[in-house]
Symmetry: C2
Subunit: 385 residues, 2 copies
């Protein structure tokens, strides 16, 4: 039974080992929307240094129509200058020719090392192999886009006569040099590009955008949503929103759980400040603080590091009225240690941190991060060489 | 021969082991300005969560007069609520009584663990011991304020008939939980509080404020400048500026060099952007990026991480025209890898990174940081417990 991107009607996929990954594992995938509709929406990285495939995919999605998406892992095609743009265009062109569609309807996503030219002979051969083996191969595609992911990530949300399938790769919590998050969502609902865009933006904010492992943001991050209309069902916007959100939440959970080099999953929630944007700034400030993250690695209920970190946030706060809970237990009240704070048990794999900034206000936000471990240093200090 | 804070005329100091540090080493110090003038200026942490001694010292310096500074290491007296403020005030009061000065002319600086009450019996006994042993003990005082510093840090800048002495402790690069940077500068020049304030602010910006190890900012950071006027010389502002800058630069160098848990000293310079503030934002963004820092630990010339990091900076840039040099060798030109980039040797202890953002403009800034090593994780994951 299909569980991922090929579960919704109207979609086929293929995967191949094009020898871009040194391991010889699956490293290219193709996702094709067979229609009858070919509507699409996308969300991209906020980084201003963007990879060549991002530029190509932005152009492809601009008119709301995407018929196919080419994926490769092992090479990000980022920071390759004009040649990188040419290689992305050539990949798109080859895919369009192999499928008999317009090149302007083909998107491309890459993940891997920055600054190495794409091996175009392998890409070209890979495209041809993919185009001739399309079928119900969503799971193989999910495997092909993995970099240091330990498990492939798929999701399927069933609605009333239609569904949303998805695959994702995200290694932000383990080897952020490969942090590129690639997500492909497919649905057989009938929905306009505007409906898809609205649903996708609403879904990304509380899911992928709250995964904040080290503040690093990839040059290649891309989330695509493709709609075939093959179910014949046109959901209401709220129904579409709910299904896309559920798919994104499920994939984000899998990304946080797939955490080589990480020993803790840490959820930081901030309340008691002016607005949600301030709360998010404060939650990120704590979630990115290396002292806080190393304390988590040591299962150390060192709430002083939370206060020292949050004091630098751009958020309304009363510095004398900050409170902190670890796993539901108060460790700091009115900016002062609570009885028993040093004895709170943080030895489990999940830690919840609740910070109230004491300024009143309705602002609240949650960020999910991880600890800073020896394996993080090990994995990331020995990558390109 | 005196080399530190007691070298300029008009200053005495003392140090004692008050058993606040578990090691039994020197942990309290007293610096006294015997005049004839008692002018002072100070710079404090930008953190909004500030320790009780910061509040007390702000009040003491407000009128430009400081006659004595009490130091302790081993306990930061931060996040201790009203009791913390009372303890700081009691420390000041005891010192004032012991010296026969007004309590409003006494400053206090603490460094150590956050969230533990000061052991006031030990502090009180320590103050009495210090007040009765004042003399040419600048070096002992410099030793007493150490936390995880490996060496005591002193400086002496000789000018024409006057001098600037100094001591500092700073462990931002090794165990930032103890990151508090405490600096005391003394001069026998005759200078108004306004002159001192101008010289100190000019000196701190390009020295201590460019030391950016992990973005963490202590609740206790304090830099004090005391002037006795005992030389009888009134330098011009520019002369004072130069001497204070030289003293700060020397202490900052010592702080960066004293780097337990660190294998690289990394200097990140940014040019080619709108203004100095933008350049500083970009330099900090790279200097704080864990992927960049782990690459440095691995001696890995992975310039792609520089581009991925700097793309998130709030600075004018041309994303297609960024260039990067490692140790003077071009590794990225026009946002694309330069020939031989992967072979650049970063095995030495010092790495210079030069980033031109390609947007023209006169903005430039330098930040000094370190790599992210196993020892950083080790030291910081096992501290409070």
């Amino acid at each position: 039974m299909s569980t991922g991107i090929t579960a919704p009607a109207g979609f086929t996929a293929a995967a191949t080992a094009a020898q871009i990954k040194h391991s010889g594992k699956l490293d290219m995938a193709l996702v094709v929307n067979d229609g009858p509709e070919h509507n699409a929406a996308a969300v991209f990285t906020r980084n201003r240094v963007v990879a060549s495939p991002i530029k190509a995919t932005r152009a492809a999605v601009a008119d709301g129509t995407v018929k196919a998406v080419l994926y490769n892992a092992g090479n990000a095609n980022a920071c390759n200058g004009v040649q990188g743009d040419k290689d992305a265009a050539a990949s798109v062109q080859r895919t369009a020719e192999a499928l008999g569609v317009l090149s302007e309807d083909v998107a491309v996503c890459s993940t891997g090392l920055i600054g190495e030219l794409l091996p175009m002979d392998k890409i070209t051969a890979g495209v041809d192999a993919l185009a001739s083996s399309l079928g119900d191969h969503g799971s193989a595609a999910a495997e092909a886009i993995m970099t240091t992911d330990l498990v492939a990530k798929e999701t399927l949300i069933e609605a009333d006569g239609w569904s949303v399938g998805g695959m994702g790769k995200g290694v932000g919590m383990m080897a952020p040099s490969l942090a590129t998050m690639l997500v492909c969502l497919t649905t057989d609902a009938s929905a306009t590009p505007e409906m898809l865009d609205e649903a996708l933006h609403k879904a990304v904010a509380p899911t992928f955008n709250t995964l904040d492992i080290d503040g690093s943001t990839s040059t290649n991050d891309t989330v695509l949503l493709l709609a075939s209309g093959a179910s014949g069902v046109t959901p209401r916007q709220a129904e579409l929103d709910a299904a896309v959100l559920a798919a994104c939440a499920n994939l984000a959970d899998q990304m946080q759980a797939d955490a080589e080099g990480v020993t803790k999953r840490v959820k930081v929630t901030v309340t008691g400040t002016g607005d949600d944007a301030q709360a998010l700034n404060a939650a990120r400030t704590v979630g990115r603080d290396n002292l806080f993250k190393t304390a988590m690695f040591g299962s150390d209920p060192n709430w002083g590091r939370v206060l020292a970190a949050v004091g630098m946030a751009e958020a309304d706060m009363d510095p004398e009225r900050i409170s902190v809970h670890f796993n539901g237990q108060p460790v700091c009240v009115d900016s002062t240690g609570a009885p028993g704070a040093r004895d709170v048990d943080l030895s489990g794999a999940d830690v919840e941190v609740l910070i109230d900034l004491g300024a009143g206000g309705e602002g609240t936000a949650t960020v999910r991060t991880t600890d800073l471990s020896h394996d993080y240093v090990e994995i990331n200090s020995a990558y390109s060489t």
